[in-house]
C-alpha cells in the first residue's frame, strides 16, 4: 500500500512539475479569430470564430472537408485542449495548436500537445461534422494518413 501511495505521489509531483514548468497564458476567447491544429502527419483543422470547421490535408482545395454551419466553438475547443497545452514542444510529434487572435498587433500564438484523448476529441468531431469536397479522395487520405497516429497515442503531455 505504501508503495502504491509513493508511486501516486511521484506521478502527481511529476504532473505538477510539468505544469509549473510550462504554465501558459491563453488569449481571451473574444479575441480569438481562429484556432488551427496541425498533426504531424499532415492534417490541419481550422476552427473559425464563427464556429465553422475545415479539415484539410495538403494544400489542394480538392482535399478539404468543411462544415456547413457552426459545429464547434473556439471556446469549446480551447476548453477541451487548455489543460493539455504546452508552451514548448516535448515530443517531435507534438501537435501544434495555433491561435490567431483578432488583435493585429499580436502575433499568432502557438502551443503544443500530445495528449491522445484531447487530439482525438477534436479530430473526430471535425471528421464527423465536415463534408469533403471529394469524398472518395478524402476517404483514401483518411485511410492512408490516419489523423491520429499510433505513436502519438502512446505519448502524453504530462506523463513522460
Amino acid at each position: 500500500m505504501k508503495k502504491i501511495l509513493t508511486i501516486i505521489l511521484s506521478i502527481m509531483l511529476a504532473i505538477s512539475h510539468v505544469y509549473c514548468a510550462q504554465k501558459i497564458t491563453l488569449p481571451k476567447y473574444d479575441k480569438i479569430r481562429m484556432i488551427s491544429l496541425y498533426t504531424y502527419n499532415g492534417w490541419l483543422v481550422e476552427i473559425s470564430k464563427e464556429g465553422t470547421v475545415k479539415l484539410i490535408y495538403g494544400s489542394s482545395p480538392m482535399d478539404v472537408a468543411t462544415s456547413k454551419a457552426q459545429v464547434l466553438s473556439c471556446q469549446e475547443v480551447l476548453g477541451l485542449l487548455a489543460p493539455h497545452l504546452l508552451s514548448t514542444k516535448t515530443d517531435v510529434r507534438s501537435i501544434s495548436v495555433t491561435i490567431l487572435v483578432k488583435d493585429e498587433e499580436q502575433s499568432p500564438q502557438t502551443f503544443y500537445l500530445t495528449d491522445r484523448n484531447a487530439i482525438a476529441g477534436v479530430m473526430s468531431q471535425a471528421i464527423d461534422k465536415c463534408v469533403p469536397a471529394s469524398p472518395e479522395r478524402f476517404k483514401e487520405l483518411l485511410k492512408k494518413y490516419p489523423p491520429v497516429q499510433p505513436d502519438e497515442s502512446s505519448t502524453n503531455s504530462v506523463k513522460r
Binding site: R33, M34, S36, L37, Y38, Y40, G42, L44, E46, K54, I56, Y57, G58, S59, S60, P61, M62, D63, V64, K89, V92, S94, S96, T98, L100, P108, T110, A133, S134, R137, L141
Partner: protein, 556 residues
C-alpha cells in the same frame, strides 16, 4: 639412354616438378592433380591453379638427337601460346604460356606432348607421350559487403533497401551490371572508418590445402589490411574488415558510372598465397562503387538514394566541419535552380498535375510530382541526410486570415467584377460536378469566370504549376523562409504574400443572375432568371494588406 627422347619439365621458381615415369615407350601418362592433395596450389588471381602448373611450363627435351620431332597438342590453343626457346640438334626447348584471364570459363587445360621417332631415321629412341593436366579453378569476386559504425544503408527512391551484399557478380565477368546482379550505392559519414568484406567464388575451396589472404585498397586512401580468408564449400570469405585508414573528412560523391567528370569509389582487390599478392578476378581486381560521404550521421530515418545524391553532389568537396549554414546553402542552390533531379536523372516537379495528392518526401521521389508539403519535406530531408537538423520550428504552413484560400501569380482580373460581394468582387463558376470537373490535370475549368489563370511563376519542373490553394507550405531556417516549390526565399510573411495574386472564398452556393454569366443555370432554357443558386467562387485581388498567417509551424 642418350638417344631416348624423354621430355622433362624444368623445375624453376615458376615451375613445379613434373613427375615423369622414366622412359615412356608408348601410350600416355596423365598426371591429374587431385583436389586436396596439395601437390601444388598457386593463384594468378583469376584462377587457383592446382598441381603441376604455374603460368608457364617449359618443355625441355634434352636427349634429342637431331632428327626426332617433338610436337604437342593443346586442348585450348586460343589460350595457350608456345614460344620456342631452344631448337638445336640436341635440344628442343619450348615454353607454354597460359593466359588465364582469357580462360574464365575453362576449368581444365590439357597439354599433350608427343615425341616420337621419325620414321626412316635411326631408331635411337622410342617414342612416348605425356599428358599434363592443369586444373584451373576460376577465382572471382562474387560479393562485396560494406558495413561499419557510420555506414548508412541506402534505399532506392521507391524504398527498396540496398541490403548487404551491396555488390554482386553472378557470372564472374568482373562487373555487377548483368541481369540478376546489383551494384548498390553505399553511404558513410565523412571521416569514418569503413568495414569492407568480400566473398570470392572458388570451387571446393574448403578442400584445398592452402591458406589465402585478401586485402584491398580504395579511393581516398582506404586500406583494408591483409586478412585471412575463410574457405567455404565453394567460396572464400573475408569478413567485413575495418580499414586501416578513415574516409576523407569531406562531403563527397563517388559515382560508379563516372558521369560528368565524377569519379567512382574504386576498390583494388588482391589475394595472396604464400605471400605473393596478385589482383583478383576478371576485371583485374577492380570494382567500382557509388559512395556518398555525408557531413554527419543522418538525422532522418529516410534513406532514399536521391536524398544522399542531392546533398553530397551539391556539397561535393566541402569540409566535413563546415557549418550547417554553409552546407544548407549549397543544397539550396540545387532547389533554387528549379532543376532538381533524382539520382536516376528524373526531374522532379511541383504540382505538374493539379490533382497530385503527394505531400511526402518518399511520395515525391517515387512519383516525381508533389505538393508544396512534399517539396518542403524533400529540402529538409536532404539537409537531414547530411546530419543537419534544425533545433527550431522549421516547417511553416500559411493560410489566409480571411478567405478560404489564395491564388498564386499570375492571374488577371476582368473589369471590376460582377459578384455583388463587396469584399470579393470577382466571380467564378466552376465546371460541375465540382471539384472533379473543375480541377483538371493542368487547367481550371470554368463555366464562367472573371479571373484568368495566366502563365505562372516557374516552379520545380514546370513553368506553369497549379496556383489555386488553400494553404502553402515552406521551410524556415535561421530567419529565412525557403520555398522549395518555387526555389525562392523570403525574408518575411509580407514578402511571401507578394507572390499571391488574390484570395478566394468557396466553393459555396450563392445566387447568381443568369444574364451576368450568360448561362442557363437552372436548365429552363432561358438566360433571364435572377438569383439562381449555384456553386461559385468569389475572388479579391491581393491588396497588399497582410492576409496570411502561419496556421502551423513545427520542427520537422
Amino acid at each position: 639412354m642418350k638417344n631416348c627422347l624423354i621430355p622433362k619439365i624444368h623445375a624453376s621458381a615458376y615451375f613445379l616438378y613434373f613427375l615423369l615415369a622414366g622412359t615412356i615407350l608408348a601410350g600416355t601418362t596423365t598426371i591429374t592433380p587431385s583436389v586436396g592433395t596439395a601437390l601444388n596450389v598457386t593463384t594468378d588471381g583469376a584462377y587457383v591453379i592446382l598441381a603441376n602448373s604455374q603460368m608457364s611450363l617449359d618443355l625441355d627435351t634434352t636427349c634429342r638427337n637431331g632428327s626426332e620431332n617433338v610436337s604437342y597438342v593443346i586442348s585450348d590453343q586460343a589460350n595457350i601460346s608456345q614460344t620456342s626457346l631452344t631448337s638445336s640438334s640436341t635440344e628442343f626447348k619450348t615454353r607454354f604460356t597460359f593466359q588465364p584471364n582469357a580462360m574464365k570459363n575453362v576449368n581444365t587445360i590439357e597439354v599433350k606432348i608427343v615425341h616420337y621417332q621419325d620414321a626412316g631415321k635411326t631408331k635411337l629412341c622410342q617414342g612416348g607421350a605425356t599428358d599434363i593436366t592443369v586444373t584451373l579453378l576460376p577465382l572471382q569476386i562474387k560479393e562485396i559487403h560494406f558495413g561499419g559504425d557510420h555506414y548508412h544503408q541506402v534505399s532506392s527512391d521507391s524504398g527498396t533497401a540496398y541490403a548487404d551484399p551491396q555488390w554482386t557478380d553472378n557470372n564472374g565477368d568482373g562487373n555487377a551490371s548483368d541481369s540478376g546482379e546489383h551494384n548498390y550505392a553505399v553511404a558513410y559519414t565523412q571521416g569514418s572508418t569503413p568495414k569492407i568484406g568480400v566473398t570470392l567464388g572458388l570451387s571446393k575451396a574448403s578442400e584445398l590445402d592452402a591458406s589465402f589472404q585478401i586485402k584491398a585498397t580504395g579511393t581516398g586512401g582506404i586500406s583494408i589490411p591483409p586478412t585471412d580468408a575463410t574457405p567455404g564449400s565453394d567460396t572464400l570469405d573475408m569478413t567485413a574488415t575495418a580499414s586501416d585508414t578513415t574516409f576523407p573528412t569531406k562531403i563527397l560523391y563517388y559515382n560508379k558510372d563516372s558521369k560528368d567528370s565524377e569519379q567512382p569509389f574504386t576498390l583494388n582487390w588482391f589475394i595472396s598465397l604464400n605471400g605473393n599478392w596478385v589482383r583478383i578476378g576478371a576485371a583485374n581486381g577492380l570494382t567500382n562503387h557509388t559512395l556518398y560521404l555525408t557531413k554527419g550521421d543522418p538525422a532522418t530515418s529516410l534513406r532514399q538514394e536521391t536524398l544522399f545524391y542531392i546533398g553530397c553532389k551539391q556539397a561535393e568537396g566541402t569540409a566535413g566541419n563546415a557549418s550547417a549554414d554553409t552546407v544548407t546553402g549549397l543544397i539550396w542552390n540545387r532547389f533554387a535552380s528549379r532543376n532538381v533531379t533524382t539520382v536516376d536523372g528524373i526531374q522532379l516537379a511541383y504540382y505538374k498535375s493539379y490533382n497530385t495528392q503527394v505531400t511526402t518526401t518518399d511520395g515525391l521521389l517515387s512519383t516525381g510530382d508533389g505538393q508544396c508539403g512534399s517539396w518542403t519535406r524533400l529540402f529538409l530531408d536532404v539537409c537531414k541526410e547530411q546530419g543537419i537538423a534544425d533545433a527550431t520550428d522549421n516547417f511553416y504552413i500559411f493560410t489566409p486570415i480571411n478567405g478560404d484560400g489564395f491564388i498564386v501569380n499570375n492571374w488577371s482580373f476582368n473589369g471590376a467584377g460582377h459578384s455583388g460581394n463587396i469584399n470579393y468582387p470577382y466571380l467564378g463558376l466552376p465546371q460541375l460536378p465540382w471539384p472533379d470537373a473543375f480541377f483538371g490535370v493542368a487547367t481550371y475549368n470554368w463555366r464562367y469566370t472573371e479571373v484568368i489563370d495566366e502563365p505562372g511563376i516557374s516552379a520545380q519542373g514546370t513553368s506553369n504549376p497549379a496556383s489555386f490553394f488553400n494553404n502553402h507550405q515552406m521551410a524556415y531556417i535561421n530567419g529565412r523562409f525557403y520555398d522549395a516549390s518555387y526555389g525562392v526565399t523570403h525574408t518575411d510573411v509580407q514578402n511571401i504574400q507578394e507572390t499571391l495574386a488574390g484570395f478566394y472564398v468557396g466553393a459555396v452556393t450563392a445566387s447568381v443572375n443568369e444574364e451576368t454569366v450568360n448561362l442557363d443555370l437552372d436548365g429552363d432554357g432561358k438566360i433571364t432568371n435572377t438569383n439562381v443558386d449555384t456553386l461559385v467562387y468569389f475572388f479579391q485581388k491581393n491588396s497588399g494588406a497582410l492576409n496570411i498567417y502561419p496556421a502551423a509551424h513545427f520542427k520537422y
